[in-house]
């Protein structure tokens, strides 16, 4: 599907996708992305919180037959990352040898290109995770 993504649809989430803005309810439950209702306790008193972007891999896969629009990047690693504040985030891993990925691998957030549309379309950026630089 080569149709360009609408810019407004993308910009609605740029703060979450560039800065990992999540939510924290009055009872201290942290979630990502931010919601108007806390998924744990139902509180509507939810504040914004910027997450540190550090976490560890709890599961991963290598995507070999991606949805259309991602063919250029295949194969690519996709993981569930548990952030140090608690929430789990789904994202691609980057700058990593697939053989080195393991349970508990420490990773940190980095802003990268997620996808390009055709010539007159927009380029999407967002978070990926890379092994923590030592």
């Amino acid at each position: 599907m080569a149709r360009p993504m609408q810019v407004s649809r993308y910009w609605r989430h740029f703060r979450e996708k560039y800065r990992l803005i999540g939510g924290k309810c009055e009872n201290g439950h942290v979630h990502f992305p931010k919601r108007s209702v806390c998924p744990v306790c139902g509180s509507r008193n939810v504040e914004e919180i910027e997450l540190s972007g550090r976490g560890k891999v709890i599961s991963w896969t290598i995507v070999r037959n991606p949805p259309s629009g991602f063919e250029y990047y295949k194969p690519f690693p996709l993981a569930l990352v548990e952030l140090e504040e608690g929430p789990i985030v789904l994202a691609q891993l980057t700058d990593v040898d697939p053989e080195e990925i393991d349970f508990g691998m420490e990773v940190e957030v980095v802003t990268k290109k997620i996808r390009e549309f055709e010539e007159d379309g927009i380029i999407l950026y967002g978070y990926k995770f890379r092994p923590v630089l030592k």
């Binding site: 599961s59 991963w60 037959n65 789904l90």
Partner: protein, 386 residues
Amino acid sequence: MRKAVIIGAGMTPVGEHWKLGLRDLAVEALLNAMDDAGIDRVDSLYVGNMVSGPFVEQENLGALIADWAGLGNIPAVKIEAACASGGAAVQEGVKAVLSGLEDVVAVVGVEKMTDAWPSDATRYLAYAADAEWELFHGASFVALNALVMRYYMKAYGYTEEDLALFAVNAHANGAKNPYAMFKRPIKVETVLKSPYVADPLKLFDASPVCDGAASVIITTPEKAKELGVPKEKWVEVAGMGRAIDTISLASREDLLTLKAAKVAAERAYKMAGVEPKDIDFFEVHDAFTVMAALSLEALGAAKKGEGAKLAKEGQIAIDADYPIQTMGGLKARGHPVGATGVYQTVEAVLQLRGEAPSQVPDAEVGVTQNIGGTGSNITVNVFRRV
């Protein structure tokens, strides 16, 4: 309260139907079900379908199918609950009968997937995930299930070989089903040697992209008698449950519990007055082998973490304690997504009438479980021999 019975069931073979469109498949299955019941009119139609818009640029399936099946000016709508659309459509049909508003209801589940380019099909199926937080990152449905599979294997110490047993069982049963897409048995090695689609998930851990339609006719016992449908054909819809869970996998409280299936099963079992030990066969949603394992756990057939153990111990075969996928399941019969829940229903009807190609001896109670999304929208139905 009124009771609901299924008096007619019909389907098309599952496969790559190059010569048939969505409407052809749906009408064929629907007319087969009406002929099976011996009726030529219904009060309403519920269509289970997931993504006809992107796949064949057609919505408004209620009008399309009722029109082309010659059903007249009846009410007809599409019911969508991702891959659980079929199971949900059956439930809406039963609810219409139980409410007393409609007496004879037709349900058809249909999906036409092979008109699309494969990577587009992968994209359309991922519409059941969270578009902004999953598909945005290039997650296919297979990839999301692969994340669950790796996590499950790590948590309980299972291997790829252990999970392959679910595919082997499905193919063994599908081989005898004339309506199945894959009618050949396979070995564990076949699964293990198939290419990775999203590691550790291999091609043979997954159900195929395919086309198909299935249909059932639902009414009350009183009306069935009035219509002259022989009692041997009746199958009671004894219990129903449906529940949702978080749409994105990352938000799940526990990656290894199909909470929606658990809640739905509790409701369905309570309504039917049954417990897991009373159930003679389970048609679970094995779109991916790991989902068969998690489903058996959620439905109470196995303890948490022991779903794959049932397969290892040989307990899921036709003649064992917990037969599953008696006509091939999603893996071998095929998984035309929005039609699957209705195929499961038709297969349960055949088992309970004693007409199944791989018959579970003396089957009296059967359960179907249909998963939408990565466990985000699940229906469980209990059927009983009348």
